[in-house]
Subunit: 397 residues, 2 copies
Amino acid sequence: MDIKSKFSDRVKHLEGSAIREMFKLMAKPGIISFAGGSPDSSLFPAKELADIAQEILSKKGPLALQYGITEGYQPLRDWVTDRLSKQEIVGENDDTIIISGGQQGIDLAAKSLINEGDAVICENPSFIGGLNSFRSYNAELIGVDVKNDGIDTDQLEEVLKAHRNVKVLYTIPTFQNPSGITMSVEKRRKLLELAEKYDFIIFEDNPYGELRFSGEPVPTIKSLDKGGRVVYFGSFSKILSPGMRIGHATADSDLINRMVICKQVQDVHTPVLTQMICHEYVTRYSIDEHIKESCRIYGEKCEYMMKLMDELFPKCVEHTRPQGGIFLFCTMPEGVDSKELLKAAIDKNVAFVPGATTMVDEHKIYSSFRLNYSMASFEQIEQGIKVLAEVLNEALN
Amino acid sequence: MDIKSKFSDRVKHLEGSAIREMFKLMAKPGIISFAGGSPDSSLFPAKELADIAQEILSKKGPLALQYGITEGYQPLRDWVTDRLSKQEIVGENDDTIIISGGQQGIDLAAKSLINEGDAVICENPSFIGGLNSFRSYNAELIGVDVKNDGIDTDQLEEVLKAHRNVKVLYTIPTFQNPSGITMSVEKRRKLLELAEKYDFIIFEDNPYGELRFSGEPVPTIKSLDKGGRVVYFGSFSKILSPGMRIGHATADSDLINRMVICKQVQDVHTPVLTQMICHEYVTRYSIDEHIKESCRIYGEKCEYMMKLMDELFPKCVEHTRPQGGIFLFCTMPEGVDSKELLKAAIDKNVAFVPGATTMVDEHKIYSSFRLNYSMASFEQIEQGIKVLAEVLNEALN
């Protein structure tokens, strides 16, 4: 039997995440990868987590190893709710659940809200995991450009006037993936206004928000929302450990209820053991101190990478200047294909994410590419940027 | 904004799993629950897992806490593939991936194959998690009765003649949830024949298959399949720990590839830490010895529960006689509503799963109910069955 003939319409045309494919390349020995979105693994509090895991399994094994409830391990859920409440993220009618990484939140909310043919407005560029989730529910994806202060709200309003089927706008407003750009508070307010006027829902994906290493904090869109229009996704992936797959979602409790039903059929619940480990870590230690240390390192790495780029890259290559997060975004002169550049770079053992994989229309030619500065060491950053500079000089001369 | 008005068609009418809701009831102190599907938590090798977790996080923290690949932690994937190969489950064109519990496999395969309006044939009764996954993709569910030797294949063929939109048949052929019934090898062969004749795919869900405590083993449908028509789901939930959420799926590699793309947008990957713990446990210790011990306990518990039921229940209440797994199924005289019985039982602090929640048409009245014998202690089984006998005697007199 040809199984391909049986594929559903929703997955028939999906392509695997180029970023996930990158993980396979990263396994190639000797490669310097700016392609992933991984935190610096030397920051993981492995020793502390080892002791915590030992204690939990010894003393509370039957709880840690048994089925749990779909909404999440209650003490962790309470801790997250409390923290988000202090950040004014939890509205009066809201509920918060623990999910298997922030990605799951996007997918559960998409499944709960998007019908075939509904339009989802995405920042262009955006996070491939978000884009692919919407694609997998046969949404119509509409890209809106990202300026230096966030999504182009004028272009957005034009799109909203032209498309009356917009149900969701997906944004990573703070230290955006892939651009590293942070949306201004004015634009956040404007987004909420437009959501009200054109009756759509905002997905605010905020995995990097706490990783600010310079500049002033900007309030989350969720904290500014009075109309219950924002679905908020947070994560422990970038501030503690991605391999544990723990995130959280906050939204109107009626929507959370639907998302919980969808989570029941996806994975029943997030593993109890990892949730307990996470909860014990954040109660026993200061996550804020840990975040502070991560910010210090990422700030230094970002600074170092930008300094090298400014010295070595051809002047026609522009890049963003993030105040936090783990990515920056480069743009070569129009018409240069960053996919071709990637091939040349991989030949010299350096990897990055080409712009195309971050775009709503992934089949056009883009001159942009994403660099991650959190995972590589300072030495690797130096070596990798030098190689990239060579590759760029060759390509652009 | 009324968020309910925005719900997608696929989730609008979904109801939460009554079984999951039961977990909340189970938290009520003093209740004896035959409702869940949990293994006996005294069987968990918590001490061994505690030491393993400690070691992994101390020695391989950066690996255990970092992002992993979607397909699963390679050593665990290899171990599972090897074990399944010995059971002749892995076909020539097949691939095997690690998933976040067997449930995720059902959902990924459903998402990859089922279009709105495609029909899925389900055993009636069946596992609510499977049924709800199919419902969440707007499949048409068609129930086929389960006899003492498995699905009614005559009725099945009638259904297949009448419905040309059948894409998938979902079965739990061994120690079925909820009935405890095992499908005969003749019927397994017949299913494959019908799949070939009527061109559909078989989802073989086998979380309980290794938990045989009496009778002779029956080959899996997957091992009998020559046409690449079976998608096989297995799990560590019932043989090691459900809270770790580790399962596996085996199917044609083209389908697995689609499922991997869907998994990328669901949870990126199953937590690396729990996969590493699981792998270390199965390589350091004998999972077969552990399974043998589980079978011994479950066999004794099942025997004990049946003995009490045969002594105390009204004679008009029939029950299945499982040779393995963790469930048995009772049927009262037609017309008696097991949901009403549940209310009376919960008043007296005993819980079970009413038949309605296991049926394709959940809104009819069913006189059947499911009892789980793995989780309760022998004392609780005695006490709970005595109470149930009282409730039954009251209801049926």
